[in-house]
Every structure is written in C-alpha cells, then in structure tokens.
C-alpha cells in the first residue's frame, strides 16, 4: 500500500511535465505498432517458449530423479538369492518407466542445443546413471560403461508420438546421450550406495560381498584419482566423499578379517555400526 501511495504522489508531483513531454513527443502514447514494440513482441514469444520448455524439462527431470531414487531403494532390498530375481525384474520395470520419461526429454530437445537446457536436466540424468549402474552392479558385479548406458537411451520415434505433435518432420531415431561429466558424477554417487550395500550386507551375515565391494570401490577410486582435477569442480568435491566411503568399507573388511573368526555372525553387524559411527565422528573433527 505504501508503495502505491508513493507512486501516486510521484505522479501527482509533476503531472505538467509528463503531459508536456508527451505532447512534444510523437504522440500522446507510445506507438504500439512501432518497430521496436513489434520486435519486443516477438522477443516475448521467443522467451516465453524458451522458459516453458525449460520448466517442462525441470519437471521431467524431477520425475526421473524420484523414480530413480525409488529404484535404488528397491535394489537395496536385495537380501538373498531367492528374492533377488523378483527385485531385479521390478527394478527393470521401473527403469523402463524412467527411460520412457527420458524419451520425452529427448523429444523436447529435438533440434535444440542440449547444453542450452542442460541445467534443467542434469540432476535427473545423474540420478538415472546412479540407479542404472547400481542395478548393473548388483546383477553383474561390473561397472556399466557410459557407452552401454547411452545405447539404452536411443529410442525409436514411434508414430504415436509423431502424430500427437504437429505435422513436423522429426527424425525417426531419438537419443539422449549422457555426458561424461554426468556419468562421472552419477558413478561417484553410486559409490555411496555401494557403501550402504556393504554395511547392510554384513548385517545380513554376508561376508563375501564386503570384500568384493571394497575391491570394486578401490578401482573406482583409482579411476577418479586418475582424472584428478582435469574434470569440473564438482568431481573433485565428490572425490572427497568417495574417499570417506572407501575408508568405511575398508574398515569394515578389516573388522571382518580380525574379528570375524571370534565373534558370532549375528553380532558382527552391531560391532560394525558402532565402529562406523565412531569413524564418522572422527571425520567431523578433522
């Protein structure tokens, strides 16, 4: 309210000047068909179209993120051989759903520079990489390569979608390539999941998985160390967290080796939980 009053006062204080200026100008108001105004009208359309597209992509990206996160939680429920297959089938189904969303993203980006809208989708893509590499690790105990991920992200542009849109000629093959940086950041997040998997597998009395995981994490850590600071800033930040995860997993293996023979299996988990909490505390201090 105060604001309104102020502006009214401002207007009232020099009405004469405003009128005289307008009279002296070309017309009483600005000519709405002048070339400048026409140009700005076209800018309006261009900017609106761009912002709308951006918002749609952000929404897709959010959906991709939540669905990928759910897949990861689902995959953490793999406890023993019998339920493994069911969970994996379910996870696959979910990931197919995610890929369907990514196809929509690819459709939005037809004919666009992907980097123009990169910030809208990068979070979703990273989360997807995390989910899909995690699933691949659980099934094959291997790191899924960037090439393999991208191979799954080539979609046929079926007629259904093409006819929904205007009669535009669209390429028959769509793809949404993951960038190397997104891949690396996704893999860095994966290591956090692997750490969780390691701790929980001890709880389930599985003493082989921790050792496998440690080996795998070490390889990834070495890989990141090789990249070092050639990548963007985020990667070096993730490297720090990765080191912590690796430390936890290595400690877990150490405990298993030393105490494994002495302590009954069902008590190992407790021992571990307290030890890793202690470790976290240490990190906070240093």
């Amino acid at each position: 309210m105060g604001d309104k009053e102020g502006s009214e006062k401002f207007k009232r204080s020099k009405p004469d000047f405003k009128q005289s200026q307008r009279k002296d100008g070309k017309g009483s108001t600005i000519d709405s068909s002048s070339s400048v105004i026409l140009a700005f009208q076209s800018f309006q359309h261009e900017l609106d179209a761009r912002h709308d597209k951006y918002e749609r992509l952000v929404k897709y990206s959010r959906d991709i993120t939540t669905e990928s996160k759910r897949t990861i939680f689902l995959l953490h429920r793999v406890i023993s051989e019998p339920n493994k297959d069911d969970v994996l089938v379910e996870a696959n189904r979910k990931l197919d759903g995610v890929r369907e969303k990514m196809k929509q993203v690819a459709l939005e980006l037809v004919g666009e520079d992907i980097y123009q809208y990169y910030r809208a989708i990068t979070c979703g893509l990273q989360e997807y990489v995390e989910a899909v590499t995690f699933q691949h690790f659980i099934t094959n105990r291997m790191l899924l390569s960037l090439e393999d991920i991208n191979r799954q992200l080539i979609f046929d542009n079926d007629i259904n979608i093409a006819s929904n849109n205007e009669d535009q000629t669209r390429p028959s093959i769509l793809s949404l390539p993951i960038t190397p940086v997104d891949y690396l950041l996704g893999v860095a997040d994966l290591t956090g999941e692997l750490m969780r998997l390691c701790i929980s597998s001890v709880g389930n009395g599985d003493i082989n998985t921790p050792f496998e995981l440690t080996q795998f994490l070490r390889e990834i850590f070495d890989g990141f160390a090789y990249i070092g600071n050639t990548g963007p800033y985020e990667i070096s930040r993730k490297l720090y967290t990765l080191k912590q995860s690796l430390g936890k997993v290595e400690n877990a293996c150490y405990m298993l080796k030393v105490r494994g023979s002495e302590i009954p299996k069902h008590m190992l988990a407790d021992l571990f939980a307290s030890k890793s909490e202690l470790h976290e505390h240490d990190d906070g201090m240093s």
Partner: protein, 227 residues
Amino acid sequence: MSVTDMFVRLQSGLSADQETREDIRKVVQTLEQSAREILILLQGVHQKEGFKTIPAMSLKVREHFGTVQTQLKELATKFSCEQYYRFHDQWRFVLQRLVFQAAFLVYLESEQLVTREAVCTILGIESGREKGFHLDIEDYLSGVLNLASELSRLAVNSVTAGDYARPIRIATFINELDFGFRLLNLKNDSLRKRYDGLKYDVKKIEEVVYDLSIRGLDKTLKISEKP
C-alpha cells in the same frame, strides 16, 4: 572393459574439453581487448564537443568492429557449433558488451534502436541458432539494457554541453524501450536483475527533462528542431 580403461577414456575426453576451453579463452581475451578499445572511442561523446565528432568516431569504431568480426569468426572455429551453449558462459560477458557498443554506435548515428539482425551484421555473426555462431536473445537484451544506462548518462552530459534537445529525444527513446521490456515475461535471472535497473535510468532521464522544461530550456530549441 575394465574400470581403469573406462576412466582413462573418460579422462582423455575431459582433457580435450579443457583444451577447447583454453583455446576459447585466448580468443575471448583478444575480443575483450577490442571491446576496450571501442569503449574508449565511444566514451568521447561525453566530452564537451563530443557530438561533433560522431561521424569521425563512428568510422573508427566501425573499423574496430571489423577486427571484432575476424576475432569472432576465429572463436567460432574453436568448437563445433552444436556445442555453442556448452561454452556460452565464456564469451557471454564480452558479447553483451559488444552488443551494447554496437547499439550505442547505431543510436549515435541514427537515434534508432539497433535490431538484433543489425547487431549480428555488425559483429559478423549469424542471427539464427541453426546457422552457427549466433547471438542469444538474452545477450542481445542485456546489451540493450546497458545502452539505457549509458544514455541516461549521456542525457546529463549533453545538458552540460549545452545540447538541450538531446535529452528529450533520449527520453522518448528510453520510454519506448521501457514499454518494450514491459512486454516481456522475465524469469528471475540475471536479465531480470538488469531490467530492474531500467526504471532508475528512466527516472534519471525524466528528471533531466523536467529540469529543462521548468526552465523553458526545451521550448527554445524545440522550435528549431521541428521540421
């Protein structure tokens, strides 16, 4: 493929990227140098006798824009043009400055708002994204907003130099710009932030016009100006 192999391959990709960025930076530095030289020439209009030198100045500035054109052409060869937005941040700032300078030059010459296409011609770049190295609409609009603040300064200085008609023409021009920008639905980004400053430029110019009109200084010159 082992994990190590994968990372080695990714790393080589990242190094290649870094080299591209390095190359771009070098060209952008030369562009910044040219932009500084142009700015010095353009700043001459704020001097007392500045307006008389506009034709000579504009010739020199256009010559400098020739250099800028070759530099921008060189920049475009440093990366593949589908990746324009990947490296956009690196030249965004200097390009906005050049847009401002081109717009200022055109304003001084013809008192018109430079069109987006005309800026592209002056800078020797494409106007559409499809064709290659182009001018992003937000960069164009930012450059135009910079023009508004420069003109509010020019209005003040032209009064000091005894040119009472110019501020009034500038006021008309800026009002039209302001009206144009009001048509846009801006997001909460850097362009919006810069647009928020436009009202102060408008206010400043209105004050100058006000000062002139209460003293009757605009009337005397108005008559001679009108055809």
